[in-house]
């Protein structure tokens, strides 16, 4: 898959995994792994980028005697998901076209 396309989709998936409740690194990977190939090293820059663009915030909480970083989606992040969903309709039309007529 095109690298930029995948990157954008991964960012969205991460945001979606945070939509209902805050999450942390390991859980994010477990939650979206069934849908898309993601590794620890791929997730790190995505989380950094989403924080830099204000789509999520972080806080550190103690868990089992160690520190764990939790990620929470922001209003801006939720807006980003909503806008991208309308993009997905177009994406699905394009996908259907390529899938149908490209084979």
């Amino acid at each position: 898959m095109d690298a930029q396309l995948k990157k954008g989709l991964l960012e969205l998936c991460v945001l979606v995994s945070l939509k209902k409740e805050e999450s942390y690194g390991y859980k994010i990977i477990t939650d979206i792994s069934p849908y898309v190939d993601i590794s620890e090293s791929t997730l790190y820059p995505i989380l950094k980028r989403l924080e830099a663009t204000g789509a999520l915030t972080t806080r550190t909480k103690e868990y089992n005697g160690r520190l764990r970083k939790y990620y929470m989606i922001t209003e801006a992040g939720k807006r980003k998901i909503k806008e991208s969903i309308s993009d997905l309709d177009e994406l699905r039309r394009i996908y259907d076209y390529i899938y149908r007529d490209g084979r």
Partner: protein, 245 residues
């Protein structure tokens, strides 16, 4: 690789980053490591899943550099300058709020940061499109030349030995079979003593042959796997292949 070795290698390769960024990276991987360990995975398994620490470091450096372009790179623009100019040109985007501003800027950033990343990668580590590290190939060639390719000669000798003993095993088996048949003939024609003695030798030879053949088959399988692994590891090292995305 142990956790300590993996972390040390990673630290070594990202040492040029600012210290608080290094701390963030180590905290991130440390946390993930503990989560994996909590679920019973072994240390070596976990770092294997993380991947080659050099590749991980490269990813981190590449992302960091594209988000923080060097100030003396004339062709690559300042993020803030772009934000300001796009805000002036498209006042409508401001109505929709920050997230779409971010998105417009992101689309404009899509092309140039990619180029800067590629240039810096090429400069930093000499990787081409296919990821072959030139300096490693040179190092490997020099090592091979100066050690007189002793290692590879040794591997060749091992394989020749395997072949020789395999043939010996087959030879013993066949020879023993033939001898046994002939010795039966001796017994039948009345030379029982000689015949039995020869039969004994024949059967023993067959036994030795079978034993050698089975042994060689097992050894050949083992050496084939080991040789394949060796070449794969060398190939990976030369081209710094990513073991996991």
């Amino acid at each position: 690789m142990t956790k300590y070795e993996w972390e040390t290698e990673l630290k070594k390769n990202i040492h040029r980053l600012p210290p608080d960024e290094i701390d963030r990276v180590l905290a991130y991987y440390g946390e993930l490591f503990d989560d994996h360990a909590e679920r019973g995975k072994r240390e070596t398994e976990i770092v294997a899943e993380f991947g080659n620490p050099i590749d991980v470091a490269d990813k981190i450096l590449a992302e960091y550099d594209s988000e923080n372009p060097k100030s003396d790179d004339g062709e690559f623009f300042d993020r803030n300058a772009i934000k300001d100019s796009s805000a002036n040109l498209a006042p409508k985007s401001q109505e929709r709020g920050c997230s779409s501003c971010g998105e417009t800027n992101e689309k404009e950033f899509v092309e140039p940061p990619q180029k800067s990343v590629t240039v810096q990668n090429a400069n930093a580590s000499g990787t081409g499109e296919n990821g072959v590290r030139a300096e490693r190939v040179i190092l490997f060639a020099l090592l091979t030349f100066f050690t007189g390719a002793i290692f590879f000669v040794a591997v060749g000798v091992v394989w020749i030995g395997l072949c020789v003993f395999s043939i010996a095993g087959l030879g013993a088996g066949l020879g023993g079979l033939f001898t046994s048949v002939v010795s039966l003939g001796l017994v039948i024609t009345g030379k029982v003593g000689a015949g039995l003695a020869q039969l004994g030798v024949g059967v023993a030879a067959v036994g030795l042959g079978i034993f050698l053949t089975i042994l060689m088959l097992k050894l050949i399988k083992l050496c084939a796997r080991a040789t394949k692994n060796m070449f794969v590891k060398i190939g990976n090292w030369l081209s710094a292949k990513k073991e996991s995305v």
